[in-house]
């Protein structure tokens, strides 16, 4: 207690200097937290865009379907998987899918297309597909009065084939059994825009797609959402244990290139932030060194009365970390409302960004324990390290020399 008291009073000796140092550290911490919030918030938005657009947080496939898709690599017992997913507390939504390439006809035009067989009820529990309906109405599993199953087509395909809502589209593909698949579908909606990943897609009710592709009840993929998106890799590992015959992949594996790019960008930003903190702490080092130099004689006295060198290091360590803690606490009190506002309200962008049919017009931050405590831990660690050179200097000085200084 007396050591803490001594450290605290030493901080207050040069109030103006300590205050300036505290301002500098508090400012550094606020900048660090704000940058982290912006960085994590931006990337989190981007991750949400593609995970909620299509990928989901986790995907389940047969073998290596995710890397080398073949129509016959199907999940053959969907009911068992659905039961597992339904009963897992960490899974908030899941949806089965089938895929195939096709040739699409509209009037006298043809174009390559990709068939997405989705469950009209379950798909919206995983993705934002309802928001991507730019024209027409989201479909159901039921055929229209003429007996044609509904289809939703991508904006790119609609433009190429000059098709609109209410028109018919003809699809030709090959079935899983090797047969030629061809059928007519009635367009109920146009999905996304010309930049969407599914701009050349044809969405069919999964039952219609399975029938069209002669797949029976098999599916190619389950996409699912985790209750906590940050825990998706752990959840994938848990599910992998429950579903040993299948391949369970977190989005980080599905979108490996993107993930590596994101990590590289984050590391670059962390480096920049660390550089800012380093610059802040050069000033702090100067303050601590000044403080130690001014008190050289006192350190001589303390050594004379039996203070071990390690105790002097400890005293300077406590002083520096205490000053950093006070500064960080003040910085936290100031930045917290800003981060909460930035996360809840955000900054309105002058120009809105259309990400595959989902419009983002607000830049938001992230408010999480990581954003608050990672900079805190980093700064306290830096403060602790910064205290070592002055501490070692005080510890090493010969008492006679220290007592002779003024």
């Amino acid at each position: 207690m007396l050591t803490l008291k001594l450290a605290y009073r030493n901080i207050l000796r040069q109030r103006r200097r300590s205050l300036l140092t505290a301002f500098s550290m508090a400012g550094g911490y606020m900048l660090f937290v704000f940058s982290m919030s912006l960085l994590e918030g931006s990337w989190s938005n981007v991750v949400d865009i593609f995970t909620l657009d299509h990928t989901g947080h986790i995907q389940i496939h047969k073998d290596d379907y995710a890397k080398r898709a073949k129509i016959h690599k199907t999940i053959e017992d969907p009911k068992a998987i659905e039961s597992t997913l339904k009963n897992h507390a960490a899974v908030t939504g899941w949806a089965p899918r089938v895929y195939s390439a096709a040739l699409a006809y509209g009037g006298s035009k043809t174009a390559p297309a990709k068939i997405f067989g989705i469950d009209p009820t379950l798909e919206p529990t995983v993705t934002r597909i309802l928001k991507k309906v730019s024209e027409g109405e989201y479909f159901s599993s039921q055929p229209n009065p003429d007996g044609y199953f509904p289809a939703m087509i991508g904006r790119g395909l609609a433009n190429t084939l000059k098709l609109g809502v209410g028109d018919e589209i003809v699809l030709i593909s090959s079935g899983a059994d090797g047969s030629i698949a061809n059928d007519i579908f009635s367009i109920t909606a146009i999905i996304g825009n010309t930049t969407s990943f599914d701009r050349l897609g044809v969405f069919l009710p999964i039952s219609a797609a399975q029938e069209f592709l002669a797949m029976g009840g098999d599916v190619h993929e389950y996409a699912l959402l985790a209750r906590n998106k940050h825990d998706n890799e752990q959840l994938a590992a848990d599910l992998q244990k429950l579903l040993p015959g299948l391949t369970v992949s977190p989005w980080q594996q599905i979108e490996a290139t993107f993930y590596r790019t994101m990590q590289s960008d984050k590391q670059g930003n962390y480096f920049t932030m660390a550089l800012i903190v380093f610059i802040v702490f050069i000033g702090v080092l100067n303050t601590v060194l000044m403080s130690v130099l001014e008190r050289t004689r006192e350190f001589g006295v303390l050594k004379s009365i039996g203070c071990r060198p390690s105790e002097l290091i400890k005293l300077i360590f406590i002083e520096t970390v205490m000053l950093a803690s006070i500064s960080i606490t003040a910085g936290l009190a100031l930045i917290l409302p800003v981060i909460i506002w930035f996360t809840e309200v955000g900054i309105k962008l002058d120009i809105s960004v259309d990400m595959g049919g989902v419009v983002f017009d607000t830049m938001k931050g992230e408010f999480s324990a990581y954003v608050i405590f990672m900079p805190m831990g980093f700064m306290l660690l830096t403060a602790a390290l910064i205290s070592l050179p002055p501490g070692l200097r005080a510890a090493r000085i010969l008492p006679r020399v220290a007592l002779g200084s003024h």
């Binding site: 050591t3 001594l6 030493n10 004379s304 203070c307 010969l398 008492p399 007592l403």
Partner: protein, 230 residues
Amino acid sequence: MKTVIETKDLVRKFGEAETQVTALSHVSTSIKEGEFTAIIGPSGSGKTTLLQLIGGLDEPDGGDVLLSGTNIANMSGKQLSDFRRDHIGFIFQSYNLIPVLSAEENIEYIMLLQGVSAAERKARVREMLALVGLEGLGDRRPAQLSGGQQQRVAVARAMASKPDIILADEPTANLDSTTGIALLDTMRDLNAQLNMTFVFSTHDQKIMDRADRLIHLEDGVIQLDETRQS
């Protein structure tokens, strides 16, 4: 009485080559337990250097310092710190109290280093303040005390750890003569009561008159070692 301090052929030089000064030249002496010894001599005679070498605050260029038979040259930095903490009390010419600590806290701090319990620390602080006649002034910071009071706190601090030896470097030099003599009388009383060994340097005749033994230093050499009747 056993010998608590012994110096053998102690040599200390400062500076290099042409500017080198020999502060102590082959100083050998011994001091017994409970002695009240003054090291006297003019400025620059080596009094402070001798006290610093005895207290392990400096390293000799030659010779040995044995405290209660232990050669302090063989000790590591940590061992020497612990030895000073438990066996030696220092009183400096310019008091050297920690300015941000109160008188009580200055006295208490050394006991904290010794690992003394909080209750015992408080009790000993009260006892030490009473011994040096500063009851009621314990909560004052050094800046709120007179020079004589500060030096009394320094004496209390030096004694709080219950050391075997108290080394005092010109403890009265910054005090007026009345205060200085009163402080020396306090030290003398404590020496008599507690049988602690006191070694102090001075060049004040009135102060040296109170010592049992006078070691005359001149140009780093002991010129005379005189034991007096008290």
